[in-house]
Symmetry: C2
Subunit: 243 residues, 2 copies
Amino acid sequence: MKKKIKLNPAIRADGKGFLKNLAYDSVIFGFSDGQLKILLMEYHNTGLFALPGGFIQEDEDLNEAVKEGLKERTGLDDIFLEQYYAFGDRRRFDASVLKKILLANGIKPDPDHWMLGRFVTVAYYALINYKNVQPKPDVLSDSCTWYSLNELPLLILDHKEIVEKALNTLRHNLDRKVVGGNLLPQKFTMNELQKVYESILGQELRRSTFQRKMLGMKILRRHQKQFSGKAHKAPYLYSFLKR
Amino acid sequence: MKKKIKLNPAIRADGKGFLKNLAYDSVIFGFSDGQLKILLMEYHNTGLFALPGGFIQEDEDLNEAVKEGLKERTGLDDIFLEQYYAFGDRRRFDASVLKKILLANGIKPDPDHWMLGRFVTVAYYALINYKNVQPKPDVLSDSCTWYSLNELPLLILDHKEIVEKALNTLRHNLDRKVVGGNLLPQKFTMNELQKVYESILGQELRRSTFQRKMLGMKILRRHQKQFSGKAHKAPYLYSFLKR
């Protein structure tokens, strides 16, 4: 239960054992119902929505802390996770938000409580196969659920900006097979792949052009159809070629 | 002289006024004599070489702090500067290095001096036109000079790794015109551009292939030769097209 301490604000007011002024946030992308979604937390009794994040203990690597945090939320261990930006503007500092969260958890913080200080946050994005997530109540407790990118609630601090930059990074890397390969099941239809692209780009694509482009990249393998029942009418399934 | 405090270790032992556990380092690339070079600092009386870096004051943005630091070192204001990674492994923590530097500057730090703590560093790379740098003695004082990437001295902590990741990032972005455009004067020869590519990639390229590829990208403008003296024998000059 060592890690539980990170989610529990009832830790020492001087933050002993944690790096000061530094946090992380993760934008966890999943794909379902033809939509790109991310995981958001709602803090108890506050109505405040935020990206899953946390602090870094003095005895753990930054990347390791983020990976552990991600595992707690999703139950997944081996995930595509990439650091993309450290957000460090002064204007992201707003002690009142953290104060509200602490108060709602029964903690009345002193003005010099470490969590009321200014934080630079290192942002990561993760790509996960939506269907693989096994929500574990004790892990996803604090109301951690999926939200479509088109219907995000109001987020605390600069978390909306953090999401937007993650999406831009994803767009920038879209043609690396890693993106589709991590958001989809191992086998998928061309239509499903197109939906992933469309939801990341935020625009519809022509089916024929998309298919030609994808096949031209020579990163896909087309599988034989199974001849059972109506299977011959089913669309082809594809998977990404291993390098 | 407000900024001087950042370079001066004679600040309060508790680090008041600065973000804790957080630093920045910058890999400043320049190009001269056909070689890619970076700026390194040598700390007085220690023989320790390091990337130019610093700490962030509580009242300044992270990016702003780095920009200011860069200006101090190079005298340049409007520079291509990009954040690329936050290095946060525990193993980069080595209090003895900072202790040596403080001692060499006449400061005998207590064991709980804030500079002896663990730091996560946010790394940036900058591309500058070597010829534009006006070294100002008071700014480049602490022996801050150019070193060819092929002949780097031993660097403190994980600074070698930071340089390598910067170079990888540069390789990844090589075909964005921004790279050549910031490392070269406004007008340059095809040969000079090829040298930039070769030094970043660490390998020689075929002249004809390189030229064809560059012209095919349609990002270059070829200038008319000046008909004066032997100028007609001089190679064509190019510049990057403005978008």
